[in-house]
């Protein structure tokens, strides 16, 4: 199952304070662990909302609102997408993240965990075509 880890913004991230070299090194090491364990699919930091825009859709049309946005606590400063076997596993991983005075939020990515055909797509495709053809001809 996939989880998105959302790192909440705060005054520092919104103020455009860039991480120190040591912060970056520690986070790099943590990311490396995630990659080596095969659980990390994506992860990025986001620039402050002053560089962002919001689009609002309504009956009257679309309005473009330039950042910064004021509700700092509701903003996102970065994210990961991790593939793990349980909610507890993602929590255990994130406990190891080098954060201080930060809030993160963990959300499961919606997915129908379904699988069902085999490894030779061309043959499968061929059969499908046959099936479809017959069904059409039989007027089903």
């Amino acid at each position: 199952m996939k989880f998105m880890v959302l790192v909440k913004a705060d005054e520092n991230t919104e103020g455009g304070a860039m991480p120190t070299e040591q912060d970056l090194a520690e986070m790099g090491k943590f990311n490396e662990e995630l990659v080596k364990a095969g659980v990390m699919l994506a992860g990025e930091g986001l620039l402050p909302s002053s560089k962002g825009v919001r689009l609002r859709y309504s009956d009257q049309g679309t309005t473009v609102l330039d950042g910064p946005f004021t509700e700092t606590k509701e903003l996102i400063a970065g994210f990961w997408i991790l593939e793990v076997s349980s909610r507890e596993e993602v929590i255990e991983w994130m406990k190891r993240a080098p954060f201080q005075n930060t809030t993160i939020e963990i959300r499961q990515v919606a997915s129908e965990e379904d699988f069902g055909d085999a490894m030779t797509p061309e043959l499968r495709e061929h059969e499908a075509r046959l099936r479809q053809q017959v069904e059409q001809q039989q007027g089903r």
């Binding site: 929590i91 069902g116 495709e125």
Partner: protein, 418 residues
């Protein structure tokens, strides 16, 4: 923290830490079976203590400390009993030295563990079970559920596998040179087997199986991290990710399979496609000669890149199957190539390829050969022959629904309809 919560946390920690733990312990004690027992002892200790004392801040180090202590106790006990350490190829002092080794060796340990678990001295199913157990952190019960076999069977396979490794004195090492390529093949095969078991599951209690795909992908990514210069490792990772990217689009709400060309491509997982394409690009940059996994990934990439079914580059797919047929000659690959050729260049171009396969003993009872041939014959208007092929295909399939379909196809052909 309730006991249940603590247990779930311990399960999670175990999945994260067990492979590293076992790998380091095998280096210390040179015995996979013993290493796993020591690791399990540490796990039991965690189950006893963490629910009341809380999970330690560095659970991996905690488990390692306990396991190492048990290992030392074990050797002391052996010494006191005046057992000959030569028997086990062990001696206490070197063991004590090994204990002092720092965790820098962990990546190598893990790689050694993968090569040991996938050693050709073991039967394939034993390699699969041992790999999932030692590297995936799965319990016997989870492995049994994933493969739809009784738990006792899996447990026995694992016990026997560990005994075989000890008896045959399988060295705990990563092979070098020509042997590496050969043994790496076995490692990749095990990982791909695990993936396919999850990916092509059609019967039974299959809710566990997507998890099996995820486990295989995780193992593949670990392997790619450990052996980043091996193109086929990256090729396999690319292949698995590109195939898995379609999983959401492959089944209807009722569980009926949806075929590649009918899938809603918006449901394909772009993240996995991006990963897969990147891994494929790295694999191709490492070697000019593409191996079988890289080639299959390149074929999967053709589908992943096609925004609509009509955009599919069938000529390229046919060429890739041609290349694959040279690397791993197989009549099934040839049949796939023929289908791709017919999509790219029409039935007339594909018929000679399929005709050549009719003499192939390996395909004598393979119903897809007459199915494909019948279809091509019908397309070029050779209805009588097409009817015979569809009837033959119907007699070979064991699937009732498919048989009805093929018989219907035969009837149409006899009426002169493509």
């Amino acid at each position: 923290m309730t006991v249940t919560e603590a247990h779930r946390t311990i399960d999670a920690v175990w999945r994260i830490e067990s492979a590293k733990l076992i790998a380091a312990l095998v280096r210390m004690v040179r015995d996979v079976g013993l290493a796993e027992e020591l690791a399990q002892d540490a796990l039991v200790a965690a189950l006893e203590q963490w629910p009341s004392a809380g999970v330690p801040s560095n659970p991996g180090a905690w488990l390692m400390t306990i396991a190492k202590r048990r290992a030392i106790d074990h050797f002391r006990h052996l010494k006191m009993a005046e057992r000959k350490h030569e028997e086990l190829g062990l001696d206490l002092e070197t063991t004590q030295d090994a204990i002092a080794v720092e965790p820098d060796e962990v990546p190598d340990d893990l790689l050694r563990l993968i090569f040991t678990a996938c050693h050709p001295v073991l039967k394939t199913e034993a390699r699969v079970a041992l790999t999932l157990r030692l590297l995936g952190g799965l319990t016997t019960d989870e492995i049994a559920r994933a493969f739809l076999v009784p738990e006792s069977t899996v447990a026995q396979r694992i016990v026997r596998a560990k005994r075989t490794l000890a008896q045959k004195k399988v060295p705990y090492e990563v092979p070098v040179g020509a042997e590496l390529a050969e043994r790496l093949g076995s490692v990749l095969e095990v990982v791909y087997l695990i993936f396919n078991e999850g990916y092509s599951a059609t019967a039974g209690d299959d809710w566990m199986r997507p998890a099996l795909c995820a486990d295989a992908m995780r193992l593949g990514r670990i392997l790619a991290g450990l052996a980043p210069q091996e193109p086929e490792v990256l090729g396999l990772v690319a292949l698995m990710e590109l195939q898995a990217s379609r999983s959401r689009a492959r089944v209807t709400a009722d569980g009926e399979p949806i075929l590649l060309m009918d899938q809603n491509r918006a449901k394909w997982d772009r993240l996995l496609i991006g990963h897969g394409l990147a891994a494929l690009a790295r694999a191709e940059s490492l070697s000019a000669r593409r191996g079988p996994y890289t080639l299959q990934a390149a074929i999967a990439a053709c589908h992943a890149r096609a925004g609509t079914p009509e955009d599919t580059d069938w000529a390229r797919i046919a060429a890739l199957y041609g290349e694959l047929a040279q690397v791993t000659p197989s009549p099934v690959v040839e049949l796939n190539r023929a289908v791709a050729v017919s999509m790219a260049a029409g039935p007339e171009a594909a018929l000679p390829l399929v005709d050549a396969l009719t003499a192939e003993p390996a395909l004598a009872r393979y119903h897809l050969l007459p199915t494909v041939r019948g279809d091509l014959l019908a397309k070029v208007g050779r209805f009588e022959e097409a009817e015979a092929e569809f009837s033959r295909a119907a007699s070979l399939t064991r699937n009732a629904r498919e048989r009805d379909l093929l018989l219907a196809r035969a009837k149409q052909a006899s009426a002169g309809n493509a």
